[in-house]
């Protein structure tokens, strides 16, 4: 660290010092910007969930898709609760990269209102919303609230690691299970890897019954028919 060790006959000109300052501050700014980018992803993920909770309450009340902010191109379709881990997240209607930044997203066209017959697949980012999946154990209880306010209960059957390059996700949609998907390994530095971590949970409680869960309010039980996006929703 002591520059004197590096050689005595090395006086630096003012230019050199200025360059150190310029380059140093430039790099400092850029480094801070990178950190800011990294933090922003987490801030966005958390803040969006807060706004989404409002939109979800709205959805339960009106039985209509409610946009969390005016320019949003997605909307909440369900609420995911893992009591043991204190997880309470709003699920979005699609799993595009843009939507996943704000919350876990539903994959495919399974309808939460018809979970009795259809498999539900929800994916989330391994480093934000779905980082909790690593702590999920077989036997874990997962509760899911539908737009109608119904609570569905699932029990985790298994957790598995799959390779997205050699396996079709479609194969797992046969049963009326709930699949939670995120990237694997959880601590990988870089995004874009081929591995996925899949939590499979099977339904346990009678589906479609209004339960009073301490964790959430049930919505108005209005029945009818609604259109969300291009797919129709059968509201019971």
């Amino acid at each position: 660290m002591d520059h004197m060790d590096l050689g005595p006959a090395t006086p630096r000109g003012p230019v050199t010092i200025r360059m150190v300052w310029i380059v140093g501050s430039l790099l400092f700014v850029l480094g801070s910007w990178l950190i800011g980018q990294g933090l922003w992803i987490h801030v966005k993920a958390a803040a969006a969930q807060w706004l989404l909770q409002q939109a979800w309450d709205e959805t339960l009340k009106t039985q209509q898709p409610a946009k969390p902010w005016p320019w949003a191109d997605t909307w909440p379709v369900g609420r995911l609760i893992v009591p043991r881990l204190g997880i309470n997240q709003i699920i979005l209607a699609d799993a595009s990269g843009r939507s996943l930044a704000f919350g876990p997203g539903k994959v495919g066209n399974g309808k939460f209102s018809d979970a009795k017959n259809e498999s539900l697949i929800v994916s989330g980012h391994r480093d934000t919303h779905f980082s909790f999946l690593r702590d999920v154990q077989p036997g874990e209880i997962i509760n899911l609230q539908t737009v109608q306010g119904d609570w569905l209960r699932y029990v985790v059957e298994e957790t598995a690691m799959l390779d997205s390059q050699t396996d079709q996700l479609l194969r797992y949609q046969e049963k009326a299970n709930l699949l939670l998907i995120t990237c694997f390994p959880f601590d990988a530095l870089l995004p874009g890897g081929p591995l996925r971590y899949v939590v499979t949970a099977r339904p346990v409680a009678p589906i479609g019954i209004h339960q009073t869960e301490a964790t959430a309010r049930t919505g108005g039980g209005s029945r009818g028919r609604g259109m969300i996006g291009s797919g129709s929703w059968e509201f019971r």
Partner: protein
């Protein structure tokens, strides 16, 4: 003065470049995981759910493929040579494995390996034996190629010991009969195997390699035991198209034409002397990403009413007969009430243009229903869902309801076809009593791996139902379309583009709404008709010709054909005396016979005996089949022992119009947050150390 400047500059340079490098890292890494698909596919263990990938550190470019297709169509017979040139751009020796489609009725009877000027003719061998021949030659370092059949329309070409920059060309030759329908002649040439949906649980134990071990992306399952052989790796469309194709067709229609067209590709038609045509693709660069279809229409005055060809081989006479039943002016079937069940595939492979075409076709079909008819609508992907539990009268309000349902359809999920088929075939006892004409319109791309299981259900449960397949999209499964229609005693049609919907559906309506020619029987004068195909004879729908093939030691001078059409008997006698001699009739008969024997296997007849019959026939007629392969060995050893051989499963394109994510289905579920944070922190830390070093004591 500035003695330390170079050092300062050097350290600055290092800092900046490492930072830029760091920024680029995520992108580079993302790119390389994409490229290593092939590696991991090859090294993939056939484990169950818990799969591991290899990291694929070394990147050796796979052999490049260039295909030239030369077709010679003479009347009803088309002979095609598919030349696949494998070029190895790497510095290592390569083995290329390419899974590709051919028309489902192709009689593949020649394989030639071309190295420079030399040509090595392929030999027909029993499949396991051919595989052994190939493996031995491959190990010895000899150039060798092998052609295997996975499905009647899926083949695998394996080429071993491709030297760096020394191409090997494999010529595959086949024959097929041209389809004649409603006065038009049609030929399809598939170019890519669409990604198949593989139902069932993966084999969980580590298998030792068998005949069913392949290099595809899907693991073998209990329902599709050879899944890994029919699922070639698919290149993500964002990396561009691969596998260029050239096509040359010489068409001698044998009649005066009204027009030649291709609904799939822009073509250039050059008319030549003596009423023949040369056809090429207009685009100089065409890639193997969709079926090619050629349609030619004769002048109505010049359409042949009957065509008879014969060929003598080994003391036996083979015969081919195509005959147009007379057009009856009988009343259209609109007066007879029908029950129509529409089944629509809404799986992931239908996402995009395919679903648009399917919806348009359904809408048209709905509009043809009359209040006397009844209908139902069933959609299937991972689950099957019927619009109604039983068929409903086609009232205006019901039709409107169905239309709304159709408009809201979305394509996503798997292709579990079996429950949909079972539901469509199911009838209440009440319905059975009504003896209504019950038609099932099955709209799908047929991209599934368990065809035989579905055929078995159809064969068993079709009863009085009639099933019509409508093949949708740019690369439908032709084998499924044809066979499902055959077992369903209906007929098949294709819709490849949105522009075609109206035209093709109109042709289908003609068949649905006009009485078919049924209970067809053939009687030969003097001799008995053995080995006649097809057997049993199918019903003929409006505009379809009767096509027969048979073998006989003594050729009868004439045959009499009888059939029923809406209650009236139709009968005609066809002379066979003036049959023109043509090459290819024997092969056609053999290929059709193999198809018939395979059908019988679906019906669970004596499989071992059928296998032996197929084997004998295929070996005798030099045909590639489920049990026979062609193999060509260049006996000169080429690859030095010290050099290793690397195996590559060649990638294929995603069929045009399909959506990669809708088929493979895995969303991206990681953010670059971690890498940003790590890089940013690292940078601040290095900057701090570096600046301190230079500023300390100032």
């Amino acid at each position: 003065m500035h003695v330390r400047s170079p050092r300062l500059f050097f350290s600055m340079f290092f800092l900046i470049s490492s930072w830029i490098g760091g920024l680029a890292l995520p992108f580079v890494a993302a790119q390389s995981t994409e490229d290593s698909i092939q590696e991991s596919v090859l090294k993939k263990p056939e484990g169950g759910i818990f799969l591991k990938t290899s990291s694929g550190k070394t990147q050796v470019p796979a052999p490049l493929l260039n295909t030239t297709v030369t077709m010679t169509i003479s009347g009803f017979i088309a002979r095609t040579t598919v030349s696949q040139q494998f070029t190895n751009p790497s510095s290592e020796w390569a083995e290329g494995i390419y899974v590709f489609p051919l028309p489902e009725q192709a009689a593949v009877d020649h394989l030639r390996m071309r190295i420079g000027e030399r040509i090595i003719e392929g030999q027909i061998q029993e499949r396991a034996e051919a595989k052994k021949t190939y493996a031995t030659a491959k190990a010895k370092g000899q150039r060798v190629s092998l052609l295997e059949q996975e499905r009647p329309n899926i083949f695998t070409a394996s080429v071993a010991n491709i030297a760096p920059n020394d191409p090997i060309t494999v010529d595959i030759e086949y024959q097929e009969m041209v389809r004649q329908d409603q006065g038009r002649f049609m030929l399809r040439f598939p170019m890519v195997v669409g990604p198949r949906y593989i139902p069932g649980q993966p084999h969980s134990i580590q298998e030792s390699p068998t005949l069913q071990t392949g290099h595809g992306w899907a693991p073998n399952t209990e329902q599709v035991p050879d899944a890994s052989r029919i699922t070639p790796p698919v290149q993500h469309p964002r990396h561009g198209l691969i596998n260029p194709m050239t096509l040359h067709i010489d068409l001698a229609p044998g009649m005066l034409l009204q027009g030649i067209e291709s609904p799939t590709h822009p073509i250039t038609v050059t008319k030549q002397e003596d009423n023949t045509y040369h056809i090429t693709l207009q685009d100089s660069l065409t890639y193997a990403d969709r079926d090619f279809e050629l349609i030619w229409t004769p002048l109505s005055s010049d359409t042949p009413q009957a065509t008879v060809f014969s060929e003598k081989q080994d003391g036996e006479t083979y015969l081919f007969l195509q005959l147009m039943p007379p057009v009856t002016s009988s009343p259209s079937q609109e007066t007879i009430p029908r029950e129509v069940v529409f089944v629509i595939d809404t799986s992931g492979s239908m996402a995009g243009s395919s679903l648009t075409q399917a919806k348009a076709a359904l809408t048209l079909a709905l509009s043809r229903l009359t209040p006397n008819d009844s209908f139902n609508l069933i959609q299937f992907n991972s689950v099957t869902q019927g619009l109604y539990s039983t068929s409903q009268p086609a009232s205006t309000s019901r039709i409107q309801e169905a239309q709304r349902y159709i408009n809201g359809l979305q394509a996503n999920g798997g292709t579990e076809m079996r429950p949909a088929l079972v539901q469509a075939l199911a009838q209440t006892p009440n319905q059975k009593e009504q003896h209504r004409l019950r038609q099932i319109i099955f709209i799908t791309d047929g991209l599934i791996g368990n065809e035989d299981a579905l055929f078995t259900i159809l064969e068993r449960d079709i009863g009085q139902n009639r099933l019509f397949t409508v093949g949708i999209g740019s690369a439908p499964n032709g084998h499924f379309m044809r066979k499902a229609a055959q077992f369903g005693r209906g007929t098949f049609t294709y819709i490849g583009t949105t522009q075609e919907v109206q035209d093709k559906m109109n042709l289908l309506f003609l068949k649905l709404e006009h009485p078919a020619l049924t209970d067809i029987t053939i009687q030969a004068s003097h001799s008995r008709m053995e080995d006649m195909l097809p057997n049993p004879l199918p019903d003929l729908y409006a505009g379809e010709p009767l096509t027969l093939a048979f073998r006989s030691s003594t050729l009868p001078p004439s045959i009499t054909i009888r059939g029923k059409q809406s209650g009236t008997i139709w009968e005609t006698t066809q002379s066979l005396v003036d049959a023109k001699s043509r090459r290819g009739i024997a092969v056609h008969w053999a290929r059709q016979t193999i198809a018939k024997l395979l059908d019988q296997q679906t019906q669970n007849k004596d499989k071992t005996m059928l296998r032996q019959s197929i084997l004998d026939l295929a070996l005798k007629h030099h045909l590639v089949s489920r049990y026979t392969s062609l193999v060509a060995v260049d006996i000169t050893p080429l690859r030095p022992d010290a050099q290793s051989l690397r195996t590559h499963a060649l990638k294929t394109n995603l069929p045009h119009g399909m959506q990669y994510e809708a088929i493979f289905g895995w969303p991206q579920t990681a953010t670059p947050a971690t890498i940003y944070l790590v890089l940013g922190t690292l940078m601040l830390w290095i900057t701090w150390i570096w600046a301190r070093q230079h500023l300390a004591g100032r």
